[in-house]
């Protein structure tokens, strides 16, 4: 199995080069002195400085974070409930419709989701702004959360809940004291996924926003349409750095935990 063939090494090297070179170039040129993004003219951090004084970008970033925090929290609560209903709810009226509505948004083109939500908000006379983006983002994020959480719930040993009931818990206590702590990692990654999706989203936010609320992706998009600019490179670099830091930290923590758990299990067998 572990034979390292030349073919595998070459395909992986080329593949990862393809995935990473564009981002590396982008990062390098965020430190470029020149306004021309394709010609290197010396090292400088001036674009980061300019970014810090760009009110429009800072405002947009603030709006985006607000939207992401609210929508991912709502999505996590609703999505976890939905996952529990799908995995444990048994049969109820409208179950097929319910699971269809959970899975459909995952594959729905964003333009359609955005358009339909906008038409709804106009139809019920809701002023478009932060609130409407939060509603829109919560809706599609909850479906992602629900998929993440339900894949954990499927492998969850049901006798743990039964043991809790057997030892005197009510159904709600069993969920709070046993189920929730055990599925917590899945719920947290669901929240993180929802948060990132909301940070990233351009299309749905463009449809559902109003003049009062401009998110960072909308701001970046309108700037980028005019062409490449070093300021956007700087902004992208910051965002890539945050994500990279987050992903690496998370994977180191999981790896550390797994190694520790494995070691402890081996010690338990030996004792």
């Amino acid at each position: 199995m572990n034979k390292t063939s030349w073919f595998n090494v070459v395909s992986l090297t080329l593949g990862f080069a393809f995935l990473y070179i564009p981002m590396i170039i982008l990062i390098i040129f965020s430190f470029n002195e020149s306004k021309l993004v394709t010609v290197w003219a010396g090292f400088s951090t001036k674009w980061y400085g300019e970014l810090l004084h760009n009110e429009a970008f800072l405002n947009a970033a603030w709006v985006t974070i607000k939207v992401a925090v609210f929508s991912s929290t709502i999505a996590t609560v609703l999505g976890t409930m939905a996952a529990y209903v799908l995995v444990r709810g048994g049969r109820f009226m409208g179950r097929t419709l319910f699971s269809g509505m959970i899975y459909a948004p995952l594959v729905m083109p964003e333009v359609i989701t955005g358009l339909s939500l906008l038409l709804l908000f106009i139809g019920i006379g809701l002023d478009r702004g932060v609130l409407t983006i939060v509603l829109a983002h919560s809706t599609f994020s909850m479906c992602y959360v629900s998929v993440v959480v339900s894949s954990r719930l499927v492998t969850f040993d049901r006798s743990l809940e039964e043991a809790a009931l057997d030892l005197g818990c009510s159904a709600a206590q069993a969920f709070r004291l046993v189920t929730l702590p055990i599925i917590a990692p899945a719920v947290i990654s669901g929240w993180l996924l929802a948060f990132t999706l909301s940070l990233d989203d351009l299309v749905i936010a463009s449809f559902t926003t109003g003049p009062s609320a401009t998110t960072l992706p909308i701001r970046i998009f309108s700037a980028v349409r005019l062409g490449v600019s070093p300021e956007i490179n700087a902004l992208s670099t910051i965002m890539i750095a945050i994500v990279t830091f987050g992903v690496i930290t998370a994977s180191l923590i999981t790896k550390h935990q797994m190694v520790r758990q494995k070691r402890e299990e081996q010690e338990a067998v030996r004792s």
Partner: protein, 375 residues
């Protein structure tokens, strides 16, 4: 042993702790439990034994409250427990997977049920310590379930389910995840703990040896019905049906037809050209009735010369020998084509054995060795 015989099921004065009355449980079209009536007495160690899918687990889950009977009643100490939810029942269960809460320490696992009861802190501490002592887990109290071995986890699960001092403890294949040697040790430990705490135990198992070892009575189940309930020795010595005889241990089943030969004594025609077999039975059989004679292999003697004075003797050829160390099982083919198994203790060294493959040998057994069963 100087203990008084423990046989509450033979005492008409004794009230059962649990009474199943005509209980039927259906899952859609499938009948898991079929019109079943049993009694389980206080302080009993009651084993439900049967192949997978025979309904034994369903029976246990109805006691725990995770399933409700479709028809019929379950009484616990005279009270119908159907409307009582699992968390309000005076029963506790030890799960097959142990179901230890992975995020809680051993101590917290054992204290879990006590906390739900609203027991005072010092009382909880005392009770948990008592349970840890009982199951010899004192030094593991602060560990998490993944930090202890399989045998220790099994004891935590037992301690946790015993902590609330239930009237009835349900054990679902409690030793299934342990290897054979550990399982045998743990069986005695279970019996010991059951005796110390005086709790009524109901155990579900598919391992007949385990049921025979631990239980005061064994209930053999098949297709949602109880086939026989009796003490382990009676199940083994006097099975009430071919199914039970065949399910428990090794057995020779000989088909034939009976004819009376004196009081409680019958002769059985079983093969053309061979002398009829003699057997006694307290159950009466009519002449010409089809029957099965069940004989345990260890009750069949094997010899090179025809034994004198044996009630039943047949001659045959050694077809196969299964050497098991302390004993050997000989598969002997009779001229009629039937194969009868005989067991003999290996008291001599293997080189000194007097018969081997293809040898002609005599098999013999007494009239009381077998059990006569109607078809």
């Amino acid at each position: 042993m100087t203990t008084v015989e423990f046989e509450p099921w033979d005492d008409p004065q004794e009230k059962p702790l649990i009474h199943f009355q005509n209980v039927t449980k259906k899952f859609g079209e499938f009948t898991a439990i079929d019109n079943l009536t049993i009694d389980i007495y206080e302080r009993e160690f009651y084993a439900l034994l049967g192949p997978s899918g025979c309904g034994k687990t369903t029976l246990m889950r109805m006691l725990a409250g995770f399933e409700t009977p479709t028809t019929g009643k379950i009484l616990l100490a005279g009270q119908d427990i159907a409307p009582v939810p699992p968390n309000k029942r005076a029963t506790n269960m030890m799960f097959q997977s142990y179901a230890l809460f992975p995020h809680l320490s051993i101590w917290e696992n054992i204290a879990f049920g006590l906390k739900r009861e609203g027991m005072a802190k010092p009382d909880i501490n005392n009770r948990v310590d008592e349970m840890l002592r009982l199951t010899r887990l004192e030094q593991f109290a602060r560990r998490k379930p993944h930090q202890i071995s399989g045998g220790q986890r099994q004891r935590v699960a037992l301690a946790r389910s015993l902590a609330k001092a239930p009237k009835l403890l349900l054990l679902d294949e409690p030793l299934g995840a342990l290897d054979k040697k550990l399982r045998q040790e743990t069986q005695f430990e279970l019996m010991d703990i059951q005796e110390k705490t005086g709790t009524t135990f109901v155990i579900v198992t598919h391992d007949q040896e385990e049921a025979m070892t631990v239980a005061s009575r064994v209930a053999v189940m098949d297709h949602g019905k109880i086939i026989q309930v009796a003490t382990p020795d009676r199940i083994y010595e006097t099975p009430n049906s071919v199914y039970v005889a065949d399910f428990i241990g090794d057995v020779n089943i000989i088909e034939g037809t009976t004819s009376a030969a004196g009081e409680d004594s019958y002769s059985i025609d079983w093969a053309d050209g061979l002398a009829p077999l003699k057997a006694t039975s307290s159950v009466s059989f009519s002449d010409g009735q089809k029957c099965h004679l069940a004989i345990r292999p260890e009750k069949v003697a094997i010899s090179t010369d025809k034994p004198e004075g044996a009630a039943n003797t047949v001659q045959g050829r050694v077809l196969d020998i299964a050497y098991l160390g302390n004993i050997s099982t000989y598969h002997v083919e009779l001229p009629s084509g039937e194969v009868i198994k005989a067991q003999a203790a290996n008291t001599r060294r293997i080189s000194r054995r007097s018969y081997t493959w293809e040898d002609t040998v005599w098999l013999s057994w007494t009239a009381t060795a077998g059990v006569l069963l109607a078809s």
